[in-house]
Each structure stands twice: as structure tokens, then as C-alpha cells.
């Protein structure tokens, strides 16, 4: 049992399992840094997973699938943005409604489009890539071979986001509207605009995260296949202190838990208890993050422009 756990394969599958979480978690960072809580990420991922399958199934091209997932994710994020930024509705209520829309809507559409209950037909994802030279090293090379392009893209985006958020004027403004919108407004930053941008970016990233699940992980769309990953991603974001690289680290932890979970299947522990591992870990991580991580001060608080 121990050999099967401590193997390079575990690490590779940990990275694979961390990827959809990392996309969604990073989406959460952009949204919440701008001051909008986005629990609709679960639904955004689910829509992303579904439309990636639809696009790939009909156009036989995973790139179109990813494009579809981005469009779907952006639309859902846009609804969340309008409802919570323009209409200042409670952001958790809006997110919950969109999650219900995603659960019902994707199941509904899936049964209509694929004419079958439960799941879509098999879909072909991207052709895996080997990183030259390093992938030939025995052992550790495994991590760098057979990689989904979406994994590489994820790593690029995470580090780019860290730079954008902390080293550019755009990043400074985005964080400012989440920390102190009044002050940002006084300095001439358009609070609403930056919040819209933050939420829409979370839609794009959450959509790709969902696409990874159906295209690269399962190679099929299964009803409600996100299984709470949107929320796990949010927990990772909190544990990562609302920072891109920190969140990636937390996602790798969850990825490792999922990889171990898959390794543990078939060693005699009932599957239901193995299934619980990521959820219990999420709760432990949240409890552990108390006092150690601080959300942006205006996170979840609608901004009301003062009338003069």
C-alpha cells in the first residue's frame, strides 16, 4: 500500500487534480480581491465542464470546447456581477441561485442534447505534451511528460496573475476597490468597472477549470461532475490568503488528497469514506486558516456611491 502511495504517479495525478481547482481558485482571487464574493464558481465550473463537452463533441476540437466553456463561464459570471454589483443583492444568495441554475440547467441541456441520462458520449481532449529533455529523466521526468496543455497554461496564468495583481497599476486598482472602495473612488478609480472585471475574469478561469474536468480528466461530461470543487477551490483561496501562488499551493494540497483518494480505492476502505476525504480536508483547512488569513476588507460588501 505504501509503495502505491509514495510513487511519482501520485505526484503527477496530484498536479492533474489540482489543476481545475487552481483555475477556479485563481478566479476566486480576482473576484474577491475586487470585493465580490463568488460562490457561483461551482456553477461556473459546471457550466464550463458541460459546454466544453458540447463544443468538443460537435466541432471535434477541444480548443473550441475550451472557448465554449470560457463563454459560458463569462455569461454566468456576468449575471452574478450585475446582480451583486449593480443591484447590490446579497452575493451568497445570487451565487446559490446560479449554482442551482447550473445543476438544473446542465442536467436539463445534457438530456436534451445528448439524449441520454447521466453523461455525454466520450470526448477527445487535447494531445498531451512532453517537456523536452526533463521528461526523459527517470522518476521525476514522469511529472513533465504526458502533460495536458491546460496544466501548463494554468501554471503560466498563476504566475502571471501574481505579477499582475502586485506589480501593475491594474492590479493595484483591482485590489484597492476590494480593500477600500471609498478611497479608490476618491482617487478616480471606477469601482464598479474594476469589480465587473474581477468577476468576469473569475468566470473565464472557472470556465476553463470546468473544461479541464470534462475534457482532460474524465473525457466525458457527467451530471454534477464538479462535486463541490468550486467550494473546495474557494477554501484553497482562503487558505492561500487570497493570493495566486498561495492558492496554487493550497490547491496542490487538495490535489494530493484527491490523488491519495484515488490510490486508496481498492485497498479495502469503503469508497464512501474515501470520497469524504477532500470535504473533510476542506473543513479542516478552513478552520486552520482562521486568524492566519485575512480577506480583503470590503469583500462581499456592495459599494454604494455617495450621493452629493
Amino acid at each position: 500500500m505504501l509503495e502505491t502511495i509514495f510513487a511519482w504517479e501520485t505526484l503527477t495525478s496530484a498536479i492533474r487534480m489540482a489543476t481545475p481547482l487552481a483555475y477556479a481558485s485563481l478566479g476566486g482571487v480576482f473576484s474577491e480581491r475586487s470585493g465580490v464574493v463568488n460562490i457561483a464558481l461551482e456553477g461556473i465550473m459546471l457550466f464550463g465542464a458541460f459546454f466544453a463537452a458540447v463544443g468538443t463533441y460537435f466541432f471535434k476540437n477541444p480548443l473550441i470546447g475550451v472557448l465554449f466553456s470560457i463563454i459560458a463561464g463569462t455569461i454566468i459570471a456576468f449575471i452574478h456581477a450585475v446582480v451583486s454589483i449593480k443591484f447590490k443583492v446579497n452575493q451568497i444568495v445570487s451565487g446559490t441561485a446560479l449554482n442551482m441554475l447550473a445543476a438544473g440547467g446542465t442536467t436539463f441541456l445534457s438530456r436534451l442534447i445528448f439524449k441520454a441520462a447521466g453523461s455525454s458520449p466520450h470526448i477527445e481532449g487535447f494531445t498531451p505534451i512532453d517537456i523536452p529533455i526533463i521528461s526523459k529523466i527517470p522518476g521525476i521526468g514522469l511529472i513533465f511528460s504526458d502533460l495536458s496543455p491546460l496544466i501548463i497554461l494554468m501554471l503560466v496564468i498563476v504566475f502571471m496573475s501574481q505579477y499582475i495583481l502586485y506589480k501593475t497599476a491594474f492590479g493595484l486598482r483591482l485590489r484597492a476597490v476590494g480593500e477600500n472602495p471609498q478611497a479608490a473612488d476618491t482617487l478616480g478609480v471606477n469601482v464598479y468597472k474594476y469589480r465587473y472585471i474581477g468577476v468576469l475574469i473569475s468566470g473565464i478561469l472557472g470556465g476553463i477549470g470546468g473544461a479541464f474536468l470534462s475534457l482532460e480528466h474524465a473525457r466525458v461530461f457527467v451530471e454534477n461532475m464538479t462535486g463541490g470543487r468550486g467550494f473546495i477551490a474557494l477554501a484553497a483561496m482562503i487558505f492561500g490568503n487570497w493570493k495566486p501562488i498561495g492558492s496554487l499551493g493550497a490547491c496542490l494540497l487538495f490535489g494530493l488528497a484527491e490523488a491519495l483518494r484515488m490510490r486508496l480505492e481498492g485497498v479495502g476502505i469503503p469508497t464512501q469514506f474515501i470520497q469524504m476525504i477532500p470535504y473533510i480536508l476542506t473543513m479542516l483547512v478552513l478552520a486552520g486558516a482562521v486568524g492566519k488569513s485575512t480577506p480583503p476588507s470590503a469583500d462581499g460588501v456592495p459599494y454604494e456611491k455617495e450621493e452629493i
Binding site: 460562490i39 440547467g105 470520497q275
Partner: protein
């Protein structure tokens, strides 16, 4: 003055929900049209199916029963400013514990206690499942949203394990993932005899049962609790302003814990309609999103017990209509969750728009 307040309340609490229902039905009509059916004819057919005969009424009331209890559970949390998105898991755990109590604990006691035991254990099970997120929120300050959702998934896996491996029905060739049948002393009788006595011919096969009476009693209980007791006052104060409540000397941590436990207990009770009143056993994952419908019911009913009766009736009818839709037009019944989401979004947005409109009007009057 009194008159204006009355009109404003009327607009906010009655007209705005009606508008959002209308928008949802219109949206549903578009979907039906896009799928090649005549929305008008389809609606007429399914409304007739749901509301045009006593059997339909019985089914609507049966659906309404669970929705009232689930709606109350979510509303109690909302009133205290807490988001109990974990009603789904609490319903499953409450249902299973209630069934197990009926099978293994009740037989020790005289038979007149069997039903009270199963009822109490359903509430207890729900409260137990709410306890962990509740204590984490009250003591450590971990927000309850993610935790209650995680508890849903854990609850689903745990009840699945128990009903598949430990308490699966015995003595049949192909056992389903469900418990043994409960003794008749531990379950809720059907209501059709009463309806037949007053001339409403609900057939014997109809599942509407005494859980409906319990749901109505719980409506009264919730109203009394929230508006007529000190605890209810403190819960509502917490929901309005947590910092002010703290300054006013309310023990915020305790109230959070208690509110969450009551909400969980109510969610647990939402299982009785199915477990004790219909199947007489616990079936794996019987709830099918009932806890989430509870959120829609609570919001449409403005978190008020009376409002919840009406919104539960509406969702009860919609659910029955969705089954008719599936039968007549083969449109998947998941259309209902789409419409629920549309109702939630339009009701909350509509509220904001109307409140702004009323504020402007008031300003215009006093300017």
C-alpha cells in the same frame, strides 16, 4: 401614513413575488417554445394535470409539506443572518436517524411512543448535522457557507454507506439501497380519509399525509418563536446587525449556535413527509435537492412563515407540473430547478429595484 405603508408592503410582499413568478413562467414558456411545443397549450395541459383534479391537489399538498419545512429551516437561519445551505445533508441524516430510531429504538417503548420517537429523532438528526458548522462558526468564526455545503457531501456519502452496507433491507432477493419497512405504529397515516369525508375525493393511493399537519404546526411554532419570544427577538436582532446585538449584550455566539441547531432540526423534520409519511422507510438520497428548494421557498416567502406557506404551495404545484411536462412533452423535469433559480434571482433583484423606487418616491413626497 398608514395607507402608504400598507401599499408599500403590498408591493414588496405580494406584487413583487407575483412579478417574479410571472417572469419565471414566461422564461419557461420560451424554453417550451424553443423545444417545439406550444407554451400556452402545454401550460394549460400541465396546470390541469396538477390542479384540475383531487388527485393532483393531493400531490401538490404532499410536495408542499416538505417545502414548508425545508423553507422554514432556511428562513430561520436567514432571520439570524446565517446561511444554512446544508439543509440537504441535514434532511438526509435526519431521515436516516429517524428511520433507524423507528426500527431499533422505538420497539423498546410502548407503541403510543413510537411516532413521537421517530419524529423527535428526525429533528435530532438534522440538528446533529448542523452542529459542526454551527460550532465552527460560533467558536472559531469560520463562515458557515462552505462548511454546510461540505457537510452535504459528507452526509450524502455517510448515509449512502450506512444504507448500502449496514442497514440495507433484509429478506428480499434484490434489496434496494433502503432500510427495512418501519412498523405502522411509527409512521404518519395518510390524509385521504379526512379529505374524502369533506367531499374531496383524493384516492387512497395519494401520498398526502399527516406530515402536512405537522408542517402547519411548525409554521405556527416558527412564527411564535421568532416574533413572540426573547430568543426570537435576539435571533432577529442578530440578523439585522451583529455588532449592535453584541453591544446590546446579546450572547452572539450562543444565539448563532442555537439558531443553526433549530434550523438544522427543522431541516431534519423536512424528511418525515417522505420517510414516515410516504415510503415508511429511508431510501438512499431520497431528498433530491429538497434542501436547495428550501432556499428558493424561503426567499420567495420573504422568510416569513405565512409567506412560506404560499411559496411552498407554488413550488409544490410547479413540481407536480414538471412531472406532467415530462409525461406530456418529454421536456426533462430539471426545467424546474432552472425556473427556481430564475425565481430566486428575479425576486432578489426585484426587491432591490422596488425598494429603490419606493425610496425615491418617498423622497419626492417629502422634498
Amino acid at each position: 401614513m398608514k395607507n402608504r405603508e400598507f401599499i408599500e408592503n403590498l408591493i414588496l410582499n405580494i406584487i413583487s413575488p407575483l412579478i417574479s413568478i410571472f417572469i419565471a413562467l414566461f422564461f419557461g414558456g420560451i424554453i417550451i417554445y424553443l423545444l417545439g411545443h406550444n407554451p400556452w397549450e402545454t401550460y394549460k395541459e400541465v396546470i390541469n394535470f396538477a390542479l384540475g383534479n383531487p388527485n393532483g391537489w393531493g400531490y401538490v399538498l404532499f410536495n408542499t409539506t416538505s417545502f414548508i419545512l425545508a423553507g422554514l429551516a432556511v428562513a430561520i437561519g436567514f432571520k439570524g443572518g446565517l446561511f444554512n445551505i446544508g439543509a440537504e445533508g441535514q434532511i438526509l441524516v435526519g431521515g436516516l436517524i429517524s428511520a433507524l430510531a423507528g426500527l431499533y429504538i422505538a420497539p423498546i417503548f410502548p407503541s403510543f411512543l413510537h411516532l413521537p420517537i421517530t419524529l423527535i429523532f428526525s429533528a435530532l438528526g438534522g440538528a446533529i448535522w448542523a452542529f459542526i458548522p454551527a460550532i465552527l462558526r460560533a467558536r472559531l468564526g469560520v463562515h458557515e457557507v462552505i462548511n454546510t455545503i461540505m457537510m452535504n457531501w459528507i452526509g450524502y456519502a455517510l448515509t449512502n454507506y450506512l444504507v448500502v452496507n449496514t442497514f440495507r433491507e433484509r429478506g428480499v432477493l434484490y434489496p434496494l439501497p433502503q432500510t427495512d419497512k418501519l412498523p405502522s405504529s411509527a409512521v404518519l397515516p395518510k390524509l385521504y380519509p379526512i379529505f374524502q369525508k369533506i367531499g374531496i375525493n383524493i384516492p387512497e393511493s395519494n401520498p398526502v399525509n399527516y406530515a402536512l399537519v405537522i408542517a402547519i404546526l411548525m409554521v405556527i411554532f416558527t412564527y411564535y418563536l421568532l416574533w413572540k419570544t426573547k430568543l426570537g427577538y435576539e435571533i432577529r436582532a442578530l440578523g439585522l446587525n451583529i455588532h449592535a446585538s453584541e453591544n446590546a449584550g446579546i450572547n452572539v455566539k450562543n444565539i448563532i449556535l442555537i439558531t443553526m441547531l433549530i434550523s438544522g432540526a427543522m431541516a431534519g423534520l423536512a424528511s418525515i413527509n417522505d420517510v414516515l409519511g410516504y415510503r415508511y422507510r429511508y431510501l438512499d438520497n431520497f431528498s433530491h435537492g429538497l434542501g436547495f428548494t428550501g432556499i428558493a421557498v424561503a426567499l420567495l416567502g420573504k422568510n416569513h412563515p405565512i409567506g412560506i406557506i404560499f411559496s411552498a404551495l407554488l413550488f409544490g404545484a410547479l413540481d407536480r407540473m414538471a412531472i406532467g411536462m415530462d409525461v406530456f412533452t418529454h421536456i426533462p423535469r430539471e426545467i424546474i430547478s432552472v425556473l427556481q433559480a430564475v425565481i430566486i434571482l428575479t425576486i432578489v433583484v426585484g426587491n432591490e429595484v422596488l425598494i429603490r423606487f419606493l425610496k425615491k418616491r418617498r423622497k419626492a413626497i417629502y422634498a
